[in-house]
């Protein structure tokens, strides 16, 4: 089965490497890719990251990857739509494009993502379980103008329709970044009524907790992501009975995308849209996971070829 | 040529001008007749440039009015002035350094547009340059920033005489010769006389009284924002001019020798120009005043800069001992700090000496500024005023004060008397002599041959090399000119 891809070259096009999630994502792709080369599954696996986060830079990168004659480009996109031109050029040059995490809307590309909408709905449901009486909520949004932010926010909004006891009194931008979240929450906290819960998009929960502590406001139920600092904070708070829930997309999705590309090159039928489960932890199981995450890192899960094929064919 | 007979080209009536609390002009009347050259003199800060700026429409007068061809002008602007034939070569350079000479000519003429404008502009200015400064060596397609200061001045003067669709009746020349050497200055002045003979009018401002006496029909003297004398040129001589300007009438050329044997003092500067053939070198003994002569741009400035950069220990072909300071000639680009006060512009050269503990003492700074204001007579109500509020000559005095106030033992002067009035010059000469007597050494590049008479020893430069050296007794203008031109094209 490997014969069809042993001479193939696969590239990862990425636009940012500066946080723990992206680092884990790159590491997952690289380690799986390296092993695949060693096993002679594919000929070459390369990773490319642009120097700035600008969209045109990544578009240019894709065009240059076309010139480098890769057979497949695995893509974590800086924009869902603005890379479409470059992606189309790649497709028409006969290159397989597989986008994941931040996906592209161009139909010729494959799209791998988690069900963010469900993640948002589930978050609200969990919060309702922990705070049955309801009350005021603060929402932390992700990077403005991205599809991920729009989907999670949509899920949260839908979820809230089922629980009228909650009211979002303010929403701030957190950019999935603890510093930004802390800064913006600090700015609005003085003017807010008491808050019972924080709905978020992950990565920003620790910053939210710090902002509440700094403003000397009571600690609300903060929905967390799967960063080590978030889970470690949870563990600390747990001692006085604090309960919450955490969810996020696993950085290992890059290794899944790699296998998808390999399968397509191998001539296997692969659906254009694939949804993989998001990674969630509960009061019961988060501590086991916490031990496995490096300090300052993020929870992750690499995919094997077999594991990936199982998910692909299940659809 | 009497002004009462010829019709007046332009006149100013009762013009007053205030800058904040400073009254720069205190009610001035001035008229210029057709075919007349009016010489305008006055001490630094007397108000000459301000008056000309009013006449050219750059500054609006606080009081009074401008009349052109007998008509009072209700609104007055540069554009209107130009349309009525009045042009001005300003004291501070008005060319755009990033443009070529030809393009600068275009800036001067709104009418120079359309196909082929560049060629027409180049021809216009080239023609005038050839006419005024034969042998000028300026290519109209050179960027102004690549020209020496003297050539920039030549280009600007020539530009002022180019004509397209506007008449040319009166040209104001505000210290046009201050950056020119004697030869080119002579070319300009004789051109001016030719045009006067054709019926054009001029106002000529200069601190070189010889130029004024020799080339004007009528002379107006200003002092402290007023005209104090207005008479036929023939009725003036040097002493009367100086007296009217309010200077103490020093006996000029009192260049008494020290009577010191040169070799008796230690050598403190030894410098060889970079391109020097043979073994000539510039040698200065402690306490000497050394002149650097020759046509402008022949390596004098370069040698002074090289000496400055080699300080304090020397290096390369230069040996020297002791700290060095420099008085720049091109004050706009090498001298002043435009957003600082006069005081700060002076003290920047001696900040170490003004420290009290780790910090600069404002009291000492003020004291130093005031001491030099008095010593060198800087005309300002307050040394904390911005340096740009000073007249051109007074800015130059501040640069002198900066160098002299420092602890430098060797003072380099790069044609430093540009725009300094006669009585101040005489004072500065005195100060230089006093300081030399105290043991300071001066290296003085000058384009005014008269000033060489103050020097103990003079080196003449040509093509970046020393071609002659003259001791005080041997120096004559002829010898200097002869060596400057010898074998040169």
């Amino acid at each position: 089965a490997h014969a069809a891809t042993t001479d193939k070259k696969i590239a990862l096009s990425n636009n940012y490497a500066g946080n723990s999630w992206r680092q884990a994502m790159l590491k997952s792709f690289e380690s799986v890719g390296k092993k695949a080369v060693a096993d002679k599954v594919v000929a070459k696996v390369d990773v490319f990251t642009t120097a700035d986060r600008a969209v045109p830079t990544q578009a240019a990168q894709i065009q240059n990857l076309i010139l480098q004659r890769y057979n497949a480009i695995v893509l974590n996109a800086s924009s869902p739509s603005a890379l479409n031109g470059a992606v189309r050029q790649a497709c028409s040059a006969g290159i397989i494009v597989v986008s994941f995490d931040s996906i592209v809307t161009e139909p010729c590309a494959w799209r791998i993502t988690v069900d963010y909408n469900a993640m948002g709905r589930q978050q609200v449901a969990e919060l309702a379980r922990l705070q049955p009486k309801g009350g005021n909520l603060l929402e932390i949004r992700g990077l403005a103008g991205t599809s991920t932010d729009a989907k999670i926010h949509g899920g949260i909004t839908e979820g809230l329709k089922n629980y009228p006891q909650f009211k979002v009194v303010r929403s701030v931008t957190g950019d999935w970044d603890q510093t930004t979240a802390q800064k913006n929450i600090s700015a609005v906290l003085p003017s807010l009524p008491p808050i019972v819960g924080v709905v978020s998009q992950g990565g920003d929960g620790y910053g939210a907790a710090q902002a509440f502590a700094a403003a000397r406001k009571p600690r609300p139920t903060i929905m967390l992501g799967n960063r080590q600092d978030e889970l470690a904070w949870w563990q600390q708070q747990k001692q006085d009975g604090y309960r919450t829930w955490s969810a996020s997309i696993s950085p290992g999705i890059s290794s899944f995308a790699f296998w998808v590309a390999q399968q397509i090159l191998d001539g296997k039928p692969v659906p254009k849209d694939i949804t993989i489960p998001y990674l969630a932890f509960t009061q019961e199981n988060f501590e086991a996971e916490l031990k496995a995450i490096p300090k300052g890192g993020v929870a992750s899960k690499d995919y094997t070829q077999a594991g990936a094929i199982a998910i692909i064919t299940k659809k | 040529m009497a002004s009462s007979l010829a019709p007046s080209v332009a006149s100013l009536n009762g013009v007053e001008k205030y800058f904040g609390a400073v009254r720069a002009l205190a009610g001035v009347d001035l008229g210029v007749a057709r075919g007349e050259c009016v010489g305008l003199v006055g001490h630094n800060g007397a108000g000459k440039s301000t008056l000309m700026n009013v006449l050219a429409g750059v500054l609006a007068p606080s009081e009074g009015r401008v009349m052109v061809a007998g008509q009072a002008q209700a609104t007055w602007s540069t554009r209107l002035a130009r349309a009525l034939g009045i042009r001005c070569v300003f004291q501070e350079l008005s060319l755009c350094p990033n443009l070529t000479v030809a393009e600068n000519t275009r800036v001067f003429h709104t009418a120079l547009r359309g196909f082929g404008w560049r060629r027409r502009a180049a021809n216009l200015v080239q023609e005038k340059l050839d006419e005024i400064f034969p042998g000028h060596g300026i290519n109209p397609s050179t960027l102004v920033q690549d020209l020496s200061i003297g050539r920039r001045q030549m280009a600007e003067v020539a530009r002022a005489f180019t004509v397209t669709d506007e008449p040319l009746a009166l040209v104001i020349l505000d210290e046009p010769t201050s950056s020119l050497d004697a030869r080119t200055a002579g070319q300009l002045l004789s051109y001016m006389r030719r045009r006067v003979a054709e019926g054009m009018s001029f106002i000529l401002i200069s601190h070189m009284l010889g130029e004024i006496l020799g080339n004007s029909d009528r002379i107006v003297v200003m002092r402290d924002g007023r005209t104090v004398a207005d008479d036929m040129a023939a009725h003036f001589n040097r002493d009367r001019l100086v007296a009217e300007m309010g200077g103490d009438n020093h006996a000029a050329h009192d260049a008494s020798p020290f009577g010191v044997v040169r070799a008796a003092r230690p050598v403190c500067v030894r410098a060889r120009p970079r391109g020097q053939n043979g073994d000539s070198e510039l040698v200065a003994h402690k306490g000497e005043i050394i002149g650097l002569a020759g046509l402008s741009g022949h390596g004098q400035t370069e040698l002074l800069r090289a000496i400055f950069d080699a300080a304090p220990k020397g290096g390369g072909s230069i040996t020297l001992d002791g700290p060095v300071s420099l008085v720049a000639g091109d004050r706009q680009s090498d001298g002043i700090f435009p957003s600082w006060s006069i005081a700060r512009n002076i003290t920047v050269g001696s900040l170490k000496a003004l420290k009290q503990g780790a910090l600069i003492s404002p009291a000492r700074e003020k004291e130093m500024a005031q001491r030099w204001q008095q010593r060198i007579r800087i005309k300002t109500p307050d040394m904390d005023n911005p340096i740009l509020s000073l007249s051109g000559g007074n800015q130059q005095k501040a640069l002198f004060a900066r160098a002299l106030a420092s602890d430098a033992q060797i003072i380099l002067m790069d044609d430093p008397m540009r725009g300094v009035d006669i009585s101040t010059k005489l004072e500065v000469y005195d100060i230089i002599r006093q300081e030399a007597a105290k043991g300071r050494t001066f290296l003085w590049y000058t384009t005014e041959t008269e000033e060489l008479l103050y020097c103990d020893h003079t080196y003449v430069f040509r093509n970046g090399m020393i071609v002659a050296q003259l001791a005080r007794g041997e120096l004559t203008e002829e010898k200097v000119i002869q060596s400057s031109f010898h074998e040169a094209g």
Binding site: T179, P190, S191, A214, D229, G296 | S325
Partner: protein, 316 residues
Amino acid sequence: MTRVADMFSERPWALSFFGAVLVWLASIAFTGGMGGGDMLTSAMALATFMVIVGVGQMFVITLGPGNVDLSLPANIGLSSAVAMKVMNNDDSLVAVGLLAAAGSGFAIGIANYLLIRALRIPPIIATLSASFIIQSIAISYGRGLQIKPPDGFADFANAQLLGLPVLALGTILFTIAAAILLQRTLFGRGVLATGQNMNAAHLAGVPVERIRTITYAMCGLLGGLNGALLAAYFRGASNDLGSEYLLASIAVAVIGGTSVAGGKANLPGIWGASLFLVLLLTMLNTFGASPGVRMVLSGAIIVGVITIAGGRPSGR
């Protein structure tokens, strides 16, 4: 209105304080007076970090047209990781960690200067290129991990005295020292002279290149320290910790009255401008405006404030 304008042209820094008060009043008007004091406290804390880098950037900008340090964000990111790694969650190592952060910032400043001087690269491109290299170093050094500060250090960074952040009080003293450095020392005068006219400064005996070296090194050092303090305040180092300070450091300097043409600097203005920018964010967050509206309003307010009271009519 002209009276107001006059006041500002004499004291350019007053303008930014005026703006800060204006947006603060607008926010408490919106909340009906609720939380006004807390707002100021948290604004002071956030403004502190802008002031620290703003001062460094101000000195650099004052060196004259084209001088700017674009490597501050990367510098902050790297230095925060250096500080946190050296401190290793141990309160006894805080001083060493601060020193290490300052050292890394200082080295970055010197590297910037070497690119500018030895290779003759324009500062804007030199510091931009340097920032790319620093980012890579930070990535391979910190691996994007969020490294936590020692508790004592973090608590110190968040401590308050009489409702005022301790860091802000320290930074006020620091700005006073910087003002003295600018106006009353050879170095400061050298910076101002160089910025107005490099040629003239050289000929007036100012050691131009030494001044530029020190200035870039100092800006780098302040960036490094800021990285350590930010990591303590936000309880975690990260590569992106400094990303907002690229524009912010330039903005607080120029809004505060520092001239991009060089040779004119203003220290009180940096505080005013920092408070103005932070309170502006507070106000827009308080209004609960959408991101788009928030950006349009903040931009329009910056332009509006500088137009009303900023310049002076040109003309003769």
